[in-house]
């Protein structure tokens, strides 16, 4: 098979496994939708004065951030640890499948799920809470999604290396992302968060990723909405994650 066909082959099985896994579907698909319904229903029609937008409009890119990070970083890290500790990663290493085809299939899966979540959350936001659907900023939105998928997938691979066992995977990944959601303004509007905290959160990739989405969804954004500064920070994290992943990747279970 050609390279593209191999990636597509792997992608198909990644999709099957994803949609059959109750945990993956719940945390990546259901959880963000439920959060959107709760946040937007409670505070949706209030206006965030400093930003000049309704709270629901703020939460749509926030929940998309949550869903994409879940489909990429969280899902990739959990599954890689499970694959490694079950011995399947080692076994895959013994087949002629090139590593890039395997990783490509996995990232393809993360991207398709992320894209689906962008569509679902955007439509729900529009239909239920009247959040405007971006038009002129669609290219910026897609670029943000592509850069984010790359960055958070490589960070997921890097994180999986640091996780010692299958049992440790959920607590470690959640402990990594949950505080950042709060500090980055994903769950709590950024106007309620002290500047120092936001500055601190801006060092990590979730805050700038969210800001790039927020720019694309903000009706007040003039022009194409490419948020180059924040995208650069996200991409830099992606490069760092890739370097760690390439240098330190482990195929065999830790106990073996």
């Amino acid at each position: 098979m050609s390279g593209a066909a191999l990636i597509l082959h792997q992608f198909r099985y990644e999709q099957k496994v994803f949609w059959r896994s109750p945990a993956a579907v719940f945390f990546t698909v259901m959880f963000p939708v439920i959060f959107l319904l709760i946040f937007a229903s409670l505070f949706g029609d209030q206006e965030i004065e400093e930003l000049g937008i309704e709270t629901a409009t703020y939460y749509v890119p926030g929940i998309i951030t949550l869903a994409v990070v879940s489909a990429t970083l969280v899902n990739v890290a959990m599954r890689l640890v499970e694959m490694r500790e079950s011995g399947r990663l080692k076994r895959m290493r013994g087949t002629p499948l090139p590593t890039w085809a395997y990783i490509g299939g996995r990232i393809g899966n993360a991207f398709v799920v992320s894209l689906l979540m962008v569509v679902i959350v955007t439509l729900l936001g529009n239909v239920l809470y009247g959040v405007p659907v971006p038009t002129t900023t669609i290219p910026a939105l897609l670029l943000t999604l592509v850069v984010g998928t790359f960055a958070f997938c490589s960070l997921g691979i890097a994180l999986s290396i640091a996780i010692p066992s299958e049992q440790a995977a959920p607590p470690i990944t959640n402990f990594t992302v949950l505080p950042l959601y709060f500090l980055s303004g994903v769950f709590v509007p950024e106007t309620e968060i002290p500047d120092g905290v936001l500055t601190f959160a801006s060092v990590f990739p979730i805050r700038p990723f969210f800001q790039a989405f927020l720019t694309a969804y903000d009706p007040l954004t003039a022009g194409a909405g490419f948020d180059w500064g924040h995208l650069a920070v996200v991409a830099a994290w992606g490069v760092a994650g890739t370097l760690v992943a390439v240098r330190c990747f482990r195929w065999a279970p830790r106990h073996g």
């Binding site: 099985y13 080692k90 290493r93 002629p96 195929w251």
Partner: protein
């Protein structure tokens, strides 16, 4: 197929392999025997290319596994000691997925039949029994149609009927012209399957040969044994037939280098004196006896 000379591997201060030599020929089933921790899996891991060696030369299918590429990996199949298959994919999906990695795979349906999982083809792997999961594992190793297969303890944890079924699969590989290297601690498995065996303990090969020859087994003394007759007959028979007699568990046994003659003398005496020799048996030491002797000697020397 496999040629190993002076293979060494240490984990820190522990010398797992202390210079082993091996030759495995095309089309043969080669069994690696040894107690837990003897170095079987370490040696196999080096041959599979998973583990770097510290010394010696290793050639598998004409290449050094440490540097061999994709092409080579397509010619080698594995069953690892521990591997759980993806529980959410069915048997057929799992094999179709792995088949897609190879340029010239074995047909998926035929592979499912070969390991006896036809009735479970649409069952998710997570719902299979332990033995069935292991057979799926073997099927994954076969679906690439590799020339050389490494099977690390392929039947550990199987019930007796599942083991017989797995043996039939491995026998089938011989008929397909495959070369198989397996590790096991079941002596009956090695006896039933292997053309040649090597015994490893503490990182060294202490004996090698066919299962029938191992440790001089072919030339070993036979043991003639029968149920203990009446007390008077015991001393009479021991007087009439000379040799090394032993008595235990209600059985009387005669060790003999020439069982034809000893048996003739014994049965002649029994007929003359109208003594029934209940449960009469002539046995040679089993592979297990020889193996236990071998590793026992080795342990005796070590302590």
């Amino acid at each position: 197929m496999i040629s190993v000379k002076g293979l060494r591997k240490s984990y820190g201060a522990l010398e797992a392999l202390r210079g082993i030599d091996l030759e495995v020929r095309r089309g043969e089933i080669f069994a690696f025997l040894g107690p837990n921790g003897a170095g079987k899996t370490t040696a196999i891991s080096v041959l599979e290319g998973y583990l770097e060696r510290d010394g010696g030369t290793v050639e598998v299918l004409g290449e050094d596994p440490a540097t061999a590429g994709r092409e080579w990996r397509g010619r080698v199949g594995f069953v690892l000691q521990e591997c759980r298959m993806e529980s959410l994919l069915t048997v057929r999906e799992t094999l179709t997925m792995y088949a897609g990695y190879y340029r010239d795979p074995r047909p998926v349906e035929a592979t499912i039949d070969l390991v006896g999982l036809a009735e479970k083809a649409d069952e998710r792997a997570g719902r299979l029994s332990g033995g069935q999961q292991r057979r799926l594992d073997v099927a994954v190793a076969l679906v690439g149609d590799a020339e050389l297969l490494f099977l690390d303890e392929p039947t550990t944890g199987f019930d007796p009927s599942a083991r017989r079924a797995a043996w039939a699969v491995i026998e089938g590989l011989r008929d397909l012209g495959k070369t198989v290297m397996l590790t096991t601690h079941y002596m009956d498995e090695a006896q039933a399957l292997a053309d040649r065996v090597a015994v490893i303990t503490a990182g060294e090969i202490i004996a090698a040969g066919t299962p029938d020859d191992l440790g001089g087994r072919r030339h070993a003394d036979s043991l003639i044994s029968f149920d203990l007759p009446a007390a008077a007959a015991v001393s009479a028979v021991r007087g009439a037939v000379t040799g090394e007699w032993t008595q235990s568990n209600g059985r009387l046994a005669l060790r003999s280098a020439d069982p034809t003659r000893s048996l003739h003398e014994l049965t002649a005496w029994a007929l003359d004196h109208d003594v029934r020799l209940g449960g009469l048996e002539v046995t040679r030491p089993s592979l297990e006896d020889v193996y236990l002797d071998l590793i026992g000697e080795e342990r005796g020397r070590a302590t």
